[in-house]
């Protein structure tokens, strides 16, 4: 009898999980083509292991959404919003500097009206010079960027950066 009750509970649990999966799937279908206000850059790095107490360089990997580009750290037009990573110092992580990758050339427009931009597309890596304490810490900060495709631009956005740092 006890076994039957247990089995029944498992059946109910299974049905509940199924309901959630099917329901979530159904909701996902309905919202799949609603782009809304979303981030065009994601942080790929979620954690790094470093030698504790030593100055070193870690790379933070970011990815720009396919079809879009963001200005590099050194755009040719000073009015364009440069990509900039601002990291907090403290909480076991001493950030000493940030080095940005070179951008790639991107042609906006065609013919005599064309303009050349300096951008990041796809994955790009920012090198962070830092010293971490032994143990577990969290590197926090913000990536400021501004994304465009070849016909329109989105307003500048800030991406929260949070990376687990393990000093060994």
């Amino acid at each position: 009898m006890k076994g039957q009750v247990l089995g029944f509970r498992f059946q109910v649990l299974g049905m509940a999980v199924l309901a959630l999966v099917v329901g979530a799937s159904a909701q996902d279908i309905s919202f799949g083509d609603v782009p809304a206000k979303k981030a065009h850059v994601v942080l790929l790095s979620d954690g790094v292991d470093v030698a504790a107490g030593k100055a070193q360089v870690v790379e933070l990997r970011f990815r720009v959404e396919p079809g879009f580009h963001i200005n590099s750290h050194a755009p040719k037009d000073p009015l364009l919003i440069a990509t900039a990573l601002k990291l907090d110092t403290g909480h076991g992580v001493d950030v000493q500097g940030v080095d940005y990758p070179k951008g790639s050339a991107f042609q906006l427009g065609q013919g005599k009206d064309a303009q050349m931009l300096d951008v990041y597309q796809g994955e790009f890596r920012v090198r962070v010079r830092m010293i971490a304490d032994a143990g577990n810490s969290t590197m926090t900060g913000m990536l400021r960027y501004q994304a465009c495709d070849d016909a329109a631009c989105f307003p500048p956005k800030n991406l929260v950066v949070k990376v687990a740092v393990t000093g060994k």
């Binding site: 509940a16 099917v22 329901g23 909701q27 919202f31 906006l108 303009q115 016909a151 329109a152 307003p155």
Partner: protein, 201 residues
């Protein structure tokens, strides 16, 4: 008996969730079809600017009177849309950080000269936030435009149901009715076609 009751409840729950999903999907498709039935100019080969809900909203101004506004230009002078009653007007939303905006702005400048005799008016409404006026002015000068640049107020973006992207342009005929709308920078010839439509030629 109790088992049957619980299972029936679960089946109903799953059914409700699926129905909600399908209902939402149909609603979204209907909204997208409505948006696509309007004139939306996107450069050839370009990724259409996203933000379907907002796009549909601003496109709903098509065929309606353009929302009235009174803004301040770079010299501090008040400029109202009503000042241009009887003339075709282009209302172009742009920002200093927007590359495609600055790509198309010289075309507006060119067309404002080309169709000056027809009374064409181009108004560039800046959408920068916290950017000093002199920076906006310098950006417009660098781009080479001489038409009126207006600074935004708190309501115009909402009044025109702007999307989360720039440039966005509305083409008004001499009666102040929105007869064209573009999201993103359209090809130059399509821009001119919209201007001609606004002028009724």
């Amino acid at each position: 008996m109790r088992r049957i009751g619980v299972l029936a409840a679960m089946v109903v729950l799953v059914g409700l969730l699926v129905w909600a999903g399908v209902y939402n999907l149909r609603q979204r498709r209907a909204a997208m079809q409505k948006a696509q039935s309007q004139v939306v100019l996107v450069k050839d080969g370009a990724t259409p600017p996203v933000g379907g809900i907002s796009a549909a909203s601003s496109t709903e101004l098509q065929g309606k009177a353009a929302p009235a506004f009174t803004l301040v230009d770079l010299e501090g002078k008040k400029v109202s849309l009503a000042d241009f009653k009887g003339k075709p007007v282009v209302v172009n939303f742009w920002a200093t950080w927007c590359g495609p905006c600055k790509l198309e702005m010289p075309w507006f400048e060119e067309f404002s000269g080309k169709y000056k005799a027809q009374g064409l008016v181009v108004l560039g409404v800046d959408q920068d936030e916290d950017t000093p006026k002199n920076v906006v002015s310098e950006a417009a000068r660098k781009v080479g435009v001489d038409y009126t640049i207006l600074l935004p107020n708190k309501t115009i973006a909402k009044d025109y149901a702007l999307g989360d992207y720039l440039p966005e342009t509305f083409y008004l005929n001499k009666d102040g009715v929105v007869v064209g709308h573009s999201l993103g920078a359209p090809p130059k010839d399509e821009m001119e076609a919209e201007i001609k439509k606004a002028m009724g030629i």
